[in-house]
């Protein structure tokens, strides 16, 4: 399978979904089931290719880029930007996650259509998102990365804006009354665009600066990290570039205080939008920190580490406390993402191999668990027609299977050992006990560790608070006489892989570490000299 290994396989994984989107758009609107099956077929073939990729991946050389195109596959010759893609141990789990979530989302959507209907457009957007997501994870050229990073914005903007929550919300400060979906979609886009505009300035600055060390200008992440590790970028220049990149990535993660778009976007988005957003899109930011910011600007990464660590812990505490104040179930889950991504960023901020491993497994686990939580919250809202936790209650009586799944997801989310969520939190805290020595803030990180540990307690607090309000107790007058359909077959099909994945990674974290560890150790050694 030569063609598969020298870039075609990976290119297919990236571009097959967008071809699928075009096919879906070409099918007449009336043939709804054909549209659904076509979309599913394209996503399944992509998943099949991705699994082949994971099987063929050479785990003994996880720190090298595999299945990639040649470094000089010209794309835009005028600026020396190349179509250079490849996977290593760090990006492999992300690519697999993105392909999985796409399939699950399409299966789920078979019998859950948000209003206004229009499955053709919605599925086309899901498939374009799939291309953007996997493209971002495999890009090894900064321009290519930027394009894929931005490609995901538009479909998500449409998804929130068209199929989102039609409730009225009040815009803070100016007090305009506007539909939730319109406010959230615009806010999502403007925040992200703001960050990525400065990120792009940073990329271009690196491009020009690379001439001094390389003799020519380069957007290649590999070349830039080579000269970055050798200390090509220093001083005010490096500081400004890191600031630009930080802005772009931190908005996407999102880190406190740039997170305010997230609760609105998650709450307003239709179920599948929330799932994609939480499970994959948030990871684009953290992945970019690991793939771009740290290797290319290691000196600045060390200088910024305490700052990132502090923001991460504020995010953990703030997210948890905000959760406790919510009555909207989806909003609670959204704020919990702020907290969980805080743990991921804390892991990254330690700049150690343990911390970055923790971050990656945390990303995967958060993708599975929060994806599941949003699925369940969406299905419950579908049945109850409300997400207000003061009105819900007694779900265990009304829909026992749904209740059990919600309980499972909540337990996984609060970091119960033997489930996937545990490893990310535990190892991030472990890593903050001994952060990279060069940061010279070991004692501060130990304080952060204690605060983060308090955060895990708060996480348990709000998850149990949600379970108490939603699952336990007797159903109120409002619901007592209703007959609800418990988890249906499409839901089982979409959720079972998430449940299995959560348990499997919880028990055998090596599923993820087996791929990531060598790559992470290699990255840390190269950037910080061991």
């Amino acid at each position: 399978m030569d063609w598969f290994e020298n870039g075609w396989g990976l290119s297919l994984i990236v571009f097959l979904p967008v071809i699928g989107a075009l096919v879906v758009l070409a099918i007449p609107k009336a043939k709804e089931s054909l549209i659904k099956w076509t979309a599913l077929a394209f996503s399944l073939v992509t998943l099949g290719l991705t699994i082949t990729l994971a099987v063929q991946f050479d785990y003994s050389a996880a720190d090298t880029y595999q299945f990639g195109t040649a470094m000089d596959t010209t794309w835009i010759s005028a600026i020396n930007a190349n179509f250079h893609i490849g996977v290593d141990g760090i990006s492999l789990p992300m690519v697999v996650l993105a392909a999985f979530i796409t399939v699950l989302v399409i299966i789920y959507s078979f019998n859950h259509w948000p209003e206004p209907h229009n499955p053709k457009l919605l599925l086309a957007f899901v498939l374009i998102l799939a291309t953007g997501m996997s493209g971002t994870f495999v890009a090894l050229d900064l321009v290519l990365f930027f394009v894929f990073f931005e490609v995901v914005l538009l479909p998500m903007y449409f998804m929130i804006g068209i199929w989102g929550d039609r409730g009225i919300t009040e815009v803070p400060i100016v007090n305009w009354k506007i539909e939730m979906r319109l406010y959230a979609s615009l806010k999502f886009f403007v925040f992200t665009l703001f960050g990525s505009a400065f990120m792009l300035l940073g990329f271009i600055a690196l491009y020009f600066k690379s001439e001094e060390a390389l003799g020519y200008r380069s957007f290649s992440m590999i070349e830039l990290s080579d000269i970055g590790a050798a200390g090509a970028f220093t001083g005010t220049f490096a500081f400004l570039v890191f600031a630009g990149l930080f802005l772009g990535f931190a908005v996407k993660v999102p880190m406190w205080p740039l997170h305010t778009w997230l609760p609105d976007a998650h709450t307003a988005a239709p179920t599948i939008g929330s799932v994609i957003l939480a499970a994959v899109l948030l990871k684009l930011g953290t992945y970019a920190f690991i793939r771009i910011a740290i290797p290319i600007l290691p000196g600045q990464a060390i200088a910024w580490a305490p700052f990132i660590g502090i923001l991460a812990v504020i995010g953990i505490i703030y997210g948890s406390l905000a959760c406790l104040a919510q009555t909207d179930m989806k909003r609670l889950i959204a704020y919990s993402s702020v907290g969980h991504m805080g743990f991921v960023m804390l892991g990254i901020a330690t700049m150690t191999d343990i911390g970055i491993n923790a971050a990656i497994i945390g990303m995967v686990a958060h993708g599975l668990i929060t994806g599941l939580l949003f699925f369940i919250a969406g299905s419950m809202a579908h049945r109850y027609h409300t997400r207000d936790m003061t009105r819900l209650g007694g779900n265990m009586v009304l829909m026992p299977k749904m209740g059990v799944l919600l309980g499972f997801a909540a337990m996984a989310s609060l970091g119960l050992p033997a489930l996937a969520g545990f490893w990310g939190e535990f190892m991030a805290l472990l890593a903050s006990f001994n952060p990279l020595e060069a940061i010279e803030a070991t004692s501060m990180f130990r304080v952060l560790m204690v605060l983060g540990a308090i955060g895990t307690v708060l996480t348990a607090g709000y998850m149990l608070y949600m379970l108490r309000n939603v699952n336990f107790g007797e159903p109120s007058q409002e619901w007592a006489d209703h007959k609800f359909e418990d988890v249906d077959s499409y839901e089982w099909l979409a959720w079972a892989p998430l449940v299995i994945g959560t348990i499997a990674i919880g028990i055998f974290p090596k599923i993820v570490f087996g791929a990531t560890n060598d790559a992470v150790v290699g990255l840390v050694q190269k950037a910080f000299g061991g």
């Binding site: 005028a78 457009l121 394009v147 490609v151 903007y157 449409f158 068209i162 615009l186």
Partner: protein, 505 residues
């Protein structure tokens, strides 16, 4: 000067003949669409020599006297830069012709004369691209503007169209006067009005205050043409009042002609005076972006919004000029490259945006944004086209606009000083502001409900007129092609920047 290189002049000759022929066709037939057909054939014919000239580069048998195709003692040069822009102008005129056919048929307009004037304006723009002295340039510029003054008032029954024409005329004449005044100062100081000689002669007089004044006046003159803030006030009124296809020509063809003037004067005639024209253009770029974008947010009429959008886009195109303020000669070609690349992409996407606006506007019978609500319900195809063009204008990958902004950022940051960094940061913030109003169009089309009293079935039943449909297809294809393979636009930009690189080397 024994023989004239007719190959180099062929595009102009063909266009000039077409201008005449349209007049003849107009008086000999009652089927006025034949005039448009004649004009389009002329455009097709004119693009052929542009292409052959481009590929002639370096081939012995078709290169005439000397490799550079310098004509008339250096006043008229056909190089990469001229050819790329000639291509842009002919393409733009062709698309505008396609847009005009249905529009003119929809009401009682003079048709034959319209096409005659439009091609005359296009001819002026094509000449402009090769002009390398002030006299040729001013004549060409007036050939672009003169017919456009008349075209802007074509809807003569409508007072707004009259206002559009008059406003455009008066500001155009003032701009010309300022330009000529500046030119006369420069000529008086240096004794030449040819760009290549001026580039040498200007070094000696760079410290004379009068020289600065001359440069400023020339910039003022072109500032009106490219509708940059603070010379923009005619733009929204003229755009709204003029027939919409004419507006498309003004915002692409006429604006690009203004940019050609600025590019030639700044980089070819006055490369030694970057410190004189750089700072004022930095300011103009900054103001155009910021004012254009902020005012556009408030607009409710789509054409006015596109007017302000075109002001803001002019600001983005001017940003590399501003960044060049303190740069040395060897990276001036980067700034030049960025502006030309931007122009090429802008031409395609803005013409597409106008095409889709004309189709929707004529079907709904209104250019008020609120009347377009729920477009997606009755025409998903048009809604998609609208999204493609407006998101491209906003600079969202993978649509062409992203690379235009990318090239602009590349040039401004590449300068490596705070003139460049500051305008790049301002542009980055402005790119975000711009999204607010571009997305408003998308929001209205996709997310708002269809207003009361609109007959969806009647709207659904109407078909897109085939000429406009063709224009839409062509520009949409262009926007996606240039977005996915931006190397094409970049190569055109580089090809044209060779002329500046040669100066620097």
């Amino acid at each position: 000067m024994s023989s004239i290189d007719y190959h180099a002049l062929l595009p102009e000759i063909i266009l000039a003949i077409t201008v005449m022929v349209t007049l003849v066709v107009d008086i000999t037939t009652r089927k006025k669409y034949l005039v448009a057909v004649t004009a389009m054939v002329g455009m097709f014919a004119a693009i052929v020599p542009v292409v052959t000239l481009a590929f002639c580069d370096g081939l012995d048998f078709c290169t005439a006297a000397g490799a550079d195709r310098v004509l008339f003692g250096g006043s008229y040069v056909v190089d990469g830069y001229a050819l790329v822009l000639k291509g842009v102008f002919i393409f733009a005129a062709f698309i505008v012709l396609l847009l005009s056919v249905g529009y003119l048929a929809s009401d009682r307009y003079y048709e034959g004369e319209y096409y005659f004037l439009l091609i005359a304006s296009a001819l002026g723009a094509v000449v402009m691209a090769s002009s390398r002295d002030f006299v040729t340039m001013v004549v060409a510029l007036e050939l672009v503007s003169g017919p456009a003054f008349l075209l802007a008032g074509w809807r003569k029954g409508d007072p707004r169209s009259n206002e559009a024409s008059l406003k455009f005329f008066i500001t155009g004449v003032i701009a010309l006067a300022l330009l000529l005044f500046g030119v006369s100062l420069l000529y008086g100081l240096t004794g030449t009005q040819q760009f290549d000689q001026l580039a040498i002669a200007s070094v000696a007089v760079a410290d004379v205050p009068l020289f600065t004044l001359g440069v400023i006046f020339v910039i003022l003159g072109f500032g009106f043409k490219v509708s940059a803030v603070p010379f923009h006030f005619w733009t929204p009124d003229t755009y709204e009042g003029a027939p919409t296809p004419v507006t498309a020509w003004l915002s692409v063809g006429s604006k690009a002609a203004g940019f050609v003037g600025l590019l030639s004067v700044a980089y070819l005639a006055l490369p030694a005076a970057t410190s004189i024209w750089g700072p004022p253009l930095w300011l103009v770029a900054f103001l155009s972006m910021t004012v254009g974008n902020i005012v556009a947010i408030k607009q409710t009429n789509i054409i006015r919004m596109m007017g302000y959008s075109s002001i803001a886009q002019a600001g983005f195109m001017l940003a590399p000029f501003g960044a060049a303020a303190a740069s040395n000669a060897d990276n001036l070609d980067q700034a030049f490259y960025a502006t030309v690349t931007y122009l090429v992409i802008y031409a395609v996407m803005n013409l597409g945006a106008f095409a889709v606006a004309i189709v929707i506007g004529s079907r709904v019978g209104s250019y008020e944004l609120k009347d377009w609500a729920g477009l997606n319900r009755w025409s998903p195809g048009l809604a998609l086209a609208l999204a493609v063009f407006f998101m491209s204008l906003a600079g969202v990958p993978p649509l062409a606009g992203w690379f235009a902004k990318f090239a602009m950022f590349q040039a401004t940051i590449g300068v490596g000083n705070w003139w460049g960094y500051s305008i790049a940061i301002a542009a980055a913030v402005n790119a975000v502001i711009a999204f607010v109003y571009y997305s408003k169009v998308i929001k209205v089309a996709f997310m708002d409900p269809v207003p009361e009293g609109i007959d969806i079935e009647a709207l659904e039943a109407e078909a897109v007129p085939s000429p406009i449909g063709f224009a839409l297809g062509l520009t949409a294809f262009g926007v996606i092609l240039l977005g996915v393979f931006p190397g094409i636009a970049a190569n055109l930009g580089e090809y044209s920047a060779q002329v500046v690189a040669a100066l620097g080397g």
